[in-house]
Symmetry: C2
Subunit: 205 residues, 2 copies
């Protein structure tokens, strides 16, 4: 049935989900593409087009039932179960992510932390014992970890990514300031605050 949905649409689904959860808290049962558009600064047409990729999720004349649509998005985005994640790199960024409270509430949890620094191995970070990176492949497979949060320095990021791919990881959230090479079928998202700031800086001119 469903043929290849454009990545740009997949990227918007979490925003829809976030907005819907927010609207649900206000107590209302239904919303419309118009209302969602206002909340998200998107056009109603775009929202209808995006959602229609996954079937007829609304009702003409009434709009979208919030509860139903949240459920549907959970299904589509594979959020019906919690995903286990590993942090690779027990530096400041790794620590911040280990402490980050929103994850569990969004369907994710950090279960494992790796580092190659002898000083750090065996110590606890946010309640989790830091393990030796040398054990990474084995542990990832054993614990069925699905997602890696890559927080090593740029220098070693590609090497670590290669190991993660070997361990069967298909999803990497990359905090290292470098573009990673990964084979087809492995997905990488990038977060680099400096890149965002430099973009903002342009508009200060």
């Amino acid at each position: 049935m469903s043929q290849e949905i454009p990545e740009i649409i997949i990227g918007r689904l979490p925003l829809y989900l976030r907005a819907l959860k927010r609207l649900k808290m206000t107590g209302q049962g239904y919303t419309s593409s118009k209302e969602l558009g206002e909340v998200l600064n998107l056009s109603p047409a775009q929202i209808r087009k995006d959602l229609s990729q996954f079937g007829e999720l609304g009702t003409r004349g009434q709009g979208y039932q919030i509860k139903f649509l949240i459920n549907k998005l959970h299904q589509i985005l594979n959020l019906e179960r919690t995903h286990d994640m590993a942090i690779v790199g027990a530096g400041d960024v790794g620590e911040a992510l280990a402490k980050y409270k929103n994850f569990i509430h969004c369907g994710f949890q950090v279960t494992t932390i790796f580092d190659n620094d002898e000083e750090k191995i065996g110590t606890k970070m946010s309640g989790i014992v830091v393990q030796n990176s040398a054990e990474m492949t084995r542990v990832i497979i054993e614990k069925e970890i699905e997602i890696a949060l890559l927080t090593t320095p740029a220098k070693s990021a590609q090497e670590v990514a290669d190991q993660l791919v070997k361990a069967g990881i298909k999803a990497i959230l990359n905090y290292a300031p470098i573009e990673l090479k990964v084979p087809e079928g492995v997905h990488v998202e990038h977060i680099d605050p400096a890149v965002h700031l430099q973009k903002l800086s342009y508009y200060l001119g």
Copy 2:
């Protein structure tokens, strides 16, 4: 001369800059759109098109002089001076950003931290005294802070953004999981790890 450059192009310039700095470290003097494309997983044509928006920055037959192009991008992106930033919200995310080491090396520095929690006001976070949010407008103007890192809970984010706008802030890096409404001329970039993870999660299905 230069008429309205598309935002999508501005967003790629920091990536070019990052890649160029990396190439410079290898010691080579020139690069090409082909090489940059390989490093960044972009097409050479796109890189040439993007750069040509800002004049003839390369030399036919030779490519781009790395030093010159880095300089030029610094000019374009307003990175020839350091930008002062304020963190609003002294929680875990705020703390992580206060500690983040890459900023200064990219042309940014955190000079001020605000919070409205009596317990936190007056304490130090990464060497910076947390100030009362009630003083925010005054302090931002006095210290000529240009960029705000918004790390409050979603609940208060819009209200804080409104105050920031009143204080004359034109650039906000928003870590709160909510879309902000800001007037024309104010620029917002969003960072929400959960949104990236939920996108990745789709591809695990």
